[in-house]
Symmetry: C2
DNA sequence: AAGGTCTATTAACATAGATCAATGATCGCC
DNA sequence: GGCGATCATTGATCTATGTTAATAGACCTT
């Protein structure tokens, strides 16, 4: 009997997964704990792993030259993590991925995963679905930066991530919205 | 003898294209002229066409509630145009796509194109490549909005689109950077 | 070439959000 | 349960960019 994999369950919600491919994929998975404050990816390092979040919460963030952090996004349970652009370009990641809560992930080496691609079209289907989701999220975010002021972006954050306001510190939310913690404090007072 | 298609040549630079698929795809293409100022996609309308730019220059732009335009991006010769998020969601486009110069495109109905997908994996390869490119562009742009001020974003624009400064009006460049034409004028004076 | 319509520049003022600094509130830890 | 460290709030300024408005230049069109 095989061990359970939530990653595989997740993939099955997106595409048909032949039993053979399922087994091959399962062999690539290793389960890892990441404690709050630890990193899955660090800016400046090459990365070659993708992972599925079984438990916990992550954020992606940039660090500017003068050390200020800017949060790109939040990834809760049932998300796929990766420094995908860095993997594709085989270059150091521009950003870091940090656990905001104690987490458990299922990690897979991208290059080993990539080898499955030519064996069955299900993987391309899966990748297309992931990319489309990521693309839609970025398009939405771009629209927000172009069209909205800080207060509107805060409300958009609340709508999109209704439970994160309690789970995430103010200064991290502020860095997601693109303002200072002081400004966010003032906006919230209203 | 078949007519030339730059769209097909472009696809061949990305993936192997079996002769049978090439013929089927060619049958879907219709060549169209779009004059400067005319639209390929209009915000608020459903769209179901993708197109390849043979000649000319396009921009994607949002229009805010109070009628102000914000340019998402520029698409020169050898680019693929589509309101892809709107097509995926089968919903009205949030943005418009306008010709900034007299243009010639090769247009293809997305749903007819989509029917080819199950016939050969080359189409998924092609789609993954397009999505990755789009995704990388959005990631870069998000980073710029989070980390850079207006002047830095202007210089980033100049690096990325070296020849567009001459071809595109100031107020459109300003709307891409996310500032007013007046502010851009001041930045350029330096 | 004159007139009209876009487009770009410039200046004066307004404002959102940043910065700096001080004070309070929370939270983990011995 | 107290103490230091982190985090949030608040107030006083500062600055980048927006707004408004006026002018000047560019580009058509007849």
């Amino acid at each position: 009997m095989n061990s359970e994999s939530e990653f595989i369950e997740f993939i099955k919600t997106i595409t048909d997964l032949p039993a053979e491919q399922e087994d091959k994929f399962r062999a690539l998975i290793s389960v890892k704990n990441i404690n709050k404050g630890e990193h899955f990816v660090r800016a400046g390092r090459n990365s070659k792993t993708i992972a599925f979040v079984k438990k916990g919460l992550f954020r992606y963030y940039y660090t500017s030259e003068d050390g200020v952090e800017f949060t790109k996004g939040f990834f809760d349970v049932n998300s796929v993590l990766s420094a995908y652009d860095a993997i594709l370009e085989n270059s150091p990641a521009h950003y870091s991925i940090e656990a905001l809560e104690d987490a458990i992930i299922e990690a897979v080496d991208y290059y080993k995963f990539r080898q499955l691609f030519s064996e069955d079209p299900c993987w391309n289907n899966f990748l297309v679905a992931l990319l489309q989701k990521g693309y839609l999220a970025k398009v939405r975010r771009e629209r927000e930066f172009l069209l909205m002021n800080a207060e509107q972006r805060y409300h958009s954050f609340l709508e999109r991530y209704p439970d994160l306001e309690k789970r995430v510190k103010q200064h991290i939310i502020a860095s997601y919205i693109g303002i200072t913690p002081e400004s966010l404090s003032r906006i919230r007072k209203k």
